[in-house]
Symmetry: C2
Subunit: 114 residues, 2 copies
């Protein structure tokens, strides 16, 4: 079945009030999520550590990301993307501001590991 | 290995002169491509017919798409997405114009079929 949507619309008040995850497509081998952030950084000392590779496209806004073992943050701006291999520990250090007061990345998580 | 890029940059003169496909990520089960269009429509009478599902996000610009069997085009604008199941025949009827004089969709093609 054909499905359609818009990453920057269909943003409810709840989504804009907190960091929100919306699953757009979920099937064996791949999940596509919209993540809407409104200023949330990863708490100090915590890291994301995922079992699967993740490809992130920042559709709108700006953010800074720290990869464990690197000495500086990586800046990601609108239309920027980053491929994070499984178990590449990372944290959002600055989720930035934008027209929506949010970064609106889309995460693509393939089921397989490399 | 962490990889990074930007959908709307790294656009060479060649890419802007014609419809161009750039593979960003290619691995078992998933391929991520940037497609940069500068006004190309699918030739009259021709249809795309793919063996795999395809999820398309229009990062910038606007386009119209016709799904076989539907009586009207579907309009897709910036940040709009569409999920096309395998063998859902479709054609681009109007690739629109934008700041880049292009639509810049990203296609996500999972390897598996539903």
């Amino acid at each position: 079945m054909v499905k359609t949507g818009n990453i920057l619309r269909e943003l409810s008040a709840r989504i804009l009030a907190e960091e929100a995850f919306t699953t757009l497509v979920d099937r064996p081998g791949m999940r596509i999520e919209r993540i809407t952030s409104t200023g949330q950084a990863t708490p100090e000392g915590e890291w994301y550590d995922q079992d699967t590779d993740e490809w992130v496209l920042l559709v709108e806004g700006a953010a800074r990301l720290r990869i464990e073992g690197e000495s500086e943050d990586r800046a990601v701006s609108g239309a920027g993307w980053i491929l994070l291999p499984a178990h590449c520990r990372n944290r959002v250090t600055w989720p930035g501001r934008s027209r929506l007061r949010s970064g609106s990345p889309v995460h693509f998580t393939p089921g397989g590991k490399e």
